[in-house]
Symmetry: C2
Subunit: 637 residues, 2 copies
């Protein structure tokens, strides 16, 4: 069996001839990303053969220069009966510290939509009490004494103590002469004690808002006394390796041990982010005693270990939409174990709590007759339209392209991501700017929109997303039926690997934008209104802080309307979760939104496929609906 | 280092000369019981040196025949620099199946004190519902559908579902066309779902009553639909090896890891008994969804992992007296993990829930002006006196003698225990009867009472408990200052080891009975009543099914009164727990008893020591108070 040496790790493995290189890497415990499931379309598994020979297929993801340099896709390469050395380039995800985003989208949402000071009211509060010392023969236990003291303050409620708190009671009550801080959760008739500490620790009171996306997970750490966001962290959902979109995750979860695996993977992601956010503020994770989680219905099922299969099967019935209060330790979230975790209520199998949370960042949560539209662009796209009279929601599968998934050099909007691209109309060469103004490491969603729009406007791609093969351009490299476009040559990139977009990648982006646009317009059709009737269009999503709405119109992601009606609000699910975290009023508000929304299943509309197919062009087959967009290179439709 | 070979196990160990044999056994993983903490008073660590020499002290626990046969106490024997072979006799506890008692004391309690049929009402009930199938676009989750169906039946309550139940929901609802059995716990405003099974399983509905004593643990398995006891099991508390009485357990628990050890030991005992009781009825332990636990305050603290140290320290404040509802999994009881465990309320640090449960088996729970007295004889003795106007309780430390602890051949009242002894006045030789009429294995509490009383009445011991050295008797063997009495010679016993009682053992029994008697009479003194004012005296305890009250009077355990006023009610704590298990009314009844009882600390009474010392004779130094008892051999006091 030939010897395979992986560099720079120097890990060695022997495999049978014919083995796929990706499998060999797995066996050698060398991590190589594969976001398309190994069918050669994302290009993320790029490696370089430094010595020896292999049997490989170029699947249109590599530039000619890369092929000449020995680059191959590990998923499309088989080992021969000869030893080889394989160089695995540094992964975008490798640089700890650079990797986790710390941007905070709160500034994107209109100030008056946030809870006011007098609405600050988290689920768990902290309270200091002075408990009198034990007296001989008063017949009171420690628990009785503390309960009586609390009842003096809060009235004759029932106080519920979990065993773990009772275990701390005796010693804690005797540490600072009976002065203790209790953390309590108020229900109408009973108060739940979830923490007890000696002395006064009311100033160490933290909460965490968590958004679980199919591709991206984000957390926001909040100092509860001031309802102040003090740290934000974002990362890819570790579940990605088990499937890029919701349906592939549901399929993966069919076996109980795989359902358990998915549960642990998302917990790992969440807990890692909580740890990073807390560490940055020198906070112990146990000091966090409030948490709000928002996510789509499938993500919540996977988080809780619930079989998601019935979400996928007619009549698409989820196990839960309104999750009861569960404790952190029940779910597996590493904060104060007895804290209650509030999970945002969902509306249907495909409109989840991330949407009801996100709506809090829009005028759809205000009592207005104006019709507003909310579009959340994620791996699933969700669209909600309505006013104080009606509220309708639908969903479509967009894929993870705008979050960097399924795109060879795609990445989240973090340090080093290209977020804006200009194309020289003459040479076809790109100039760009990156987040943090550092060397580029990849392209984020806004960067891809900017890139495609400008390639289209300068005539370097056509309306079908094909690169211009008729004009000479050193950035374009054609190999058989496929062509790729080099945005950044290897010498300019931070990873020393060129940053490229292939026609296959462009197809992914077009499919994503087509799904969003066609679902939005079909929803409006169904209720008999036009885009022109909408007062505000809120765009949410994690593709970057600066969405150029003009460019989004050029590629046909959003309708061609005056730019003032669009409001880009970033990760609305996370911001909405923050609002609920700091204010119980907002929880009520969200529940009302969830209860009055009607879920529409677009899959049952016979026009859906036609609408979608018509949108698979840049900007659209119906150019009349995009009057302001003028592509240079027209193609026949 | 000399080689020590243990027989019959053939386990070998090498230890330094001078090592205690008990320590060598521990090192060789050979189990030898030590119920007195290794100070040579209980005699339970009896072993035989089959070859080689040792350095040993005879501490008055062995007969001369035994010494001549090579018997020694492992705790009083040191290894020399020579190899030895040590034979470890079969332990009473060794014979699996014979060991766990299965006797049921329910018949000892007056029938009218039990809950009536119309009062049968366990905490968790099982209910069958037919849940309608999911409908497309009705917007209901599985959880919503089940909740609505339950609300149809039970009204607009809140139904609380733990995560583990939600995880089973989707599949369970689809197994038998929506027919499911839910197990639910009713609180006033909310119902807690603790189980869900497909189809109708209402006929598999079980509960378990558990009594945790310092020395003995007992469980009673109940078929809930008929409130019928179907299996009872009793065993020693595994904590015994960490200390014989409450104070030594509290001292042992000072280090957190030892507190954890004690918690696990009692859980191990309980779970073993639950398993045995369930297996005998072919029931899966998860089918048990109700449980009531009664125990003294320290036992409950150790069970829950609560630091018991403050129970021992002035002002003797326990962490809890009324335990909140905790789930089986929280505590570690192996039944349906989400079941709530009800723990009987205690009155003070030394009058616990075992007493409030036990009172349910007496007229102290009836609304009567007659004064009744309740004496629970365990390792701690508790005494309660009162009527519908007043209720006073106190406690004393008796030690485990009546349950077989601290007595060389003592054992619980199980198969093979000598429960009645007669002494030939002429020869001094014992004749006896055993539980189950099998070969004797040891002596239980009732047997010891019978033995001592008859030795006293026939003049073979004096009022101080010393054996008669003036008359010749082959059952009495004197060695130095100590003498022992052989009840059963080795050839007649089931273990082939003679069954003996030593003067040191007799002292233990005298101390136990003196504690009980002096505490009872002091309690009455304090409230200004006499034994003669009492209508009924209830005696509870685990020393045997047939307590001969006349004999108990002879040794001075109970006052010298007409026998009709005494009622022996066996393990009242377990029977009371059974009552609460089958009826919520009885739980209320018990809570009222707990709330109206006044706890009296006898330790603060300056007369206590005098009273106790006066009772350290058979029957008492004040012979006038025992007019019917005529010991043959008088001694000067």
């Amino acid at each position: 069996m030939p010897k395979i040496t992986f560099l720079p790790s120097k890990k060695i493995v022997n495999v049978r001839p014919g083995t796929e290189l990706l499998e060999a890497a797995l066996k050698a415990d060398v991590e190589i990303p594969v976001s398309c499931g190994g069918n050669g379309t994302c290009g993320k598994c790029l490696v370089r053969i430094d010595s020896g020979e292999v049997d490989f297929t170029s699947s249109g993801i590599l530039s000619i220069i890369e092929i000449s340099e020995g680059y191959v896709l590990a998923c499309k390469t088989r080992v021969l009966d000869k030893p080889i050395k394989v160089f695995v380039p540094e992964q975008i995800e490798d640089k700890e510290g650079k990797f986790t985003d710390t941007y905070d989208d709160i500034g994107l949402v209109r100030q008056e939509l946030f809870p006011k000071n007098w609405q600050f009211d988290p689920l768990a509060v902290k309270w200091v009490v002075d408990v009198p010392p034990p007296k001989p023969e008063d017949g009171l236990s420690d628990l009785d004494r503390l309960t009586r003291r609390l009842q003096l303050e809060w009235g004759k409620k029932e106080f519920v103590f979990p065993l773990s708190i009772i275990r701390q009671l005796a010693d804690t009550l005797r540490l600072e002469n009976g002065k203790v801080t209790v953390t309590l959760i108020r229900e109408s008739d009973r108060y739940h004690i979830v923490g007890i500490e000696p002395g006064d620790s009311t100033f160490r009171h933290y909460g965490i808002a968590i958004d679980i996306g199919t591709t991206t997970v984000a957390v926001q750490l909040v100092f509860q006394p001031l309802a102040k966001s003090i740290a934000t962290r974002t990362d890819y959902n570790d579940q990605i390796k088990c499937g890029l979109d919701i349906i592939s995750r549901i399929n993966y979860a069919k076996r109980p041990e795989r359902l358990a695996e998915l549960r642990l993977l998302v917990l790992k992601t969440i807990n890692r982010l909580i740890k990073k956010a807390s560490a940055s503020q020198k906070i112990k994770t146990e000091e966090i005693c409030n948490a709000v989680i928002s996510g789509n219905t499938t993500m919540i099922h996977l988080l809780l270990g619930l079989n998601p299969d019935y979400i996928r099967l007619d009549p698409y019935t989820p196990t839960i939409l309104n999750t009861p209060n569960l404790s952190a330790v029940d779910i597996g979230i590493d904060i104060n174990p007895k804290s209650w975790i509030f999970i945002s209520p969902g509306v249907g199998s495909y409109v989840g709590g991330d949407i009801t949370a996100g709506l809090l960042c829009t005028d759809l949560a205000s009592d207005t007759e104006d019709i507003n539209l909310f579009i959340d662009i994620g791996t699933n796209g969700e669209i909600v339209v309505g006013n104080s009279d009606f509220l309708m929601g639908c969903a479509c599968s967009a894929g993870p392209a705008f979050e960097g998934g399924g795109i060879r050099d795609g990445m989240r909007a973090s340090l080093g991501a290209i977020e804006r691209v200009e194309i020289d109309p003459e040479t076809g060469i790109a100039s760009y700017s990156t987040i943090g103004n550092v060397k580029p490491r990849g392209i984020c969603g806004t960067g891809m929109i900017s890139l495609l729009a400008n390639l289209l406007l300068t005539g370097w791609i056509d309306s079908a997303g094909k690169l211009n093969r008729t004009r000479k351009c050193r950035a374009i490299s054609v190999s058989g039926r496929h062509a790729v476009y080099t945005v950044v040559p290897s010498e300019e990139s931070d990873t020393l690997k060129s940053i490229i977009i292939s026609e296959l990648n462009i197809e992914n982006i077009i499919r994503a934008k087509a799904a969003i646009y066609s679902a939005s317009s079909l929803l409006l059709d169904q209720i008999g209104i036009r885009f022109e009737d909408i007062t505000n269009i809120y765009i949410a999503g994690g593709f970057g802080r600066f969405l150029d709405l003009k460019m989004a119109t050029v590629i046909g992601l959003i309708p061609d309307l005056p730019s003032e009606i669009f409001k880009y609000i970033g990760n609305a699910s996370l911001i909405g979760s923050y609002m609920i975290l700091v204010s119980q009023d907002y929880k009520e508000k969200q529940l009302k939104l969830a209860n009055r929304m009607t879920y529409i299943d677009l899959g049952k509309d016979p026009n859906y496929m036609d609408k979608y197919t018509a949108a698979l062009f840049l900007p659209h087959t119906d150019m009349a609906s995009f009057p302001s967009v003028k592509p240079l290179m027209k193609i026949k439709i």
